[in-house]
Amino acid sequence: MSSPPAKLRVQPDDESPAILPDELITEVLSHADVKSLMQMRCVSKTWDAMISDPKFVKLHLKRASRNPSLTLFLSKSRIDGDNNVVPFPVSCLIENPMITLPNDPYFRLRAKECRYVIGSCNGWLCLLGYSSIGAYRQIWLRFWNPAMHKMTEKLGYIWDNILGLYTHFKFAFGYDELSETYKVVLLILDEARNRTNVQILSLGDDMWRSIQSFPAVPLPFRYSNPGVNDVVYLNGSLNWLALRDSFRSIGVYGWKNVNVKEFVIISLDLGTETYRQLMPPCGFDEMSPVEPSICVLKDCLCFSNDYKRTDFVIWKMEVFGVEESWTQLFRISYQNLQSMHLDFVDLQYSQWLPLHLSDHGDTLILANKQERQAILYNLRDNRAVRTRITDDIQWFSAKVHVESLVSDILKPQVHQP
């Protein structure tokens, strides 16, 4: 905060209004929403320069990250299979309104020639689209900042032939701070050669390039759509839950054959493009029919698992990369998560996904595979309330998203040394 300015103060009964010094104006504006800021660029030339200054954009992004949204993925139309992506502020979600989301064309994907959201980074959504040509599919990516009304062209074209977009490909989107480059990572399962190939696209480059293959088998590798959350972006790295050792396909009933010790978290540093392996918490020592998962809560990597079909446990890695820093964050009994309206649902056999933990740590938003609604779980009084948005939302595709002023993510090509 700035030190008290010398000549600033006016008497309260003076006619002239109090003037804020520049650093206080910047402070106030860093709290404003993108739409207002875009208008305020018309205030004066100085304001136009200030609001588009990269330092201000960074400051604004930092503030906006404290007030994030979840991108709600839903279909409004049963006819043409079009999907909508609606960024919905977490603060609103927690108030649990009973509403129907408007069918605003701005949030429809088909008009953007896309179908899924791969990820969100610094206010930009990575969208995926494809078209089928005979037995082949042409896949592309497109990047969209909804708050700034900015969208790139289609890029990063890939052909999907025998290997399936829905069964053998995993996309991930992240940002490398050092080189200031946005990157998309593609994992391609190669069953015949018992390995997973990895390609990276640096935004601004024309082509995908190969890097070292994935050192484990990423989970889950079964039928799923590209929009489902299966990778975690955190502080310049992309992280996947995986099984070490040789490849095998995990059928629906196959978990019993998997040893707890086989789980590993593979972390890809987007700067060096190298992997490191992180062990899950040692408190996770017993297998369960329910697959564990990873997520980010409060800017930390978290690991969630079922415990003896009585509780859902979430662990937090306090210091990223330090395995000794795994601490149990919550242990929530399934009884507390039960809904009185849905007693036929076996929550203890459900796949769960934590989505967000509120700032003051008292509300956890989480979803389970068997229910249409997400759960707002109050950690102070251990009460679970279902969300009341009437639309059929695919909560397992919800991404944490912020509004940002970042206006350009296609960096001009700079060759890596």
Binding site: R9, Q11, A18, I25, V28
Partner: protein, 160 residues
């Protein structure tokens, strides 16, 4: 609240004197939240009346009210909404400047957000007046910019 090892207890009050000569009392624990006040206490001692030349009797009670709630951990969204409900935009600005002077971080952050929220529905002309900024765009330049960002200008309320 943890007790200090030194002589001050949580029931100790500090006297503050505004720029227009009025005296107000606050608890020592609340004074701690205003770093400028705490610095003056450290320099001058906690037994004398602390002079605050740049804060006046109109704002200080409001600020004291805020920190009274803060030390009991009762600041909620509802409280904050009530707190600013009857303040007009200029009064909030003055309070914001006072919070800045007092280095009262929590209130400062809250009021930054509140001012930003208030400006959300206001016109560019209002914003200029509010911050005392001169428009140095030519009419042509300005209308070009407005056209380019037409999407951001939809849904403006009339100036209050």
């Amino acid at each position: 609240m943890a007790q200090e090892a030194s002589s001050s207890t949580s029931s100790k009050t500090i006297s503050l004197k505004t720029g227009d000569g009025e005296i107000f009392e606050i608890e020592a624990s609340a004074a701690k939240q205003m770093k400028t006040v705490q610095r003056l206490i450290d320099d001058l001692g906690d037994d004398i009346t602390i002079p605050l030349h740049n804060v006046f009797s109109k704002e200080l009670p409001k600020i004291i009210e805020y920190y009274k709630k803060d030390i009991t951990g009762e600041i909620t969204k509802d409280f904050e909404a009530e707190f600013v409900k009857d303040l007009n935009d200029d009064e909030v600005k003055v309070l914001f400047l006072a919070a800045n002077y007092l280095d009262a971080n929590k209130l400062f952050e809250f009021l930054s957000q509140n001012i930003a929220d208030r400006l959300e529905s206001k016109s560019v002309e209002y914003v200029r007046k509010y911050f005392g900024v001169e428009n140095d765009f030519t009419p042509e330049e300005e209308s070009k910019l407005r056209e380019e960002r037409a999407w951001s200008f939809r849904g403006i309320k009339e100036d209050e």
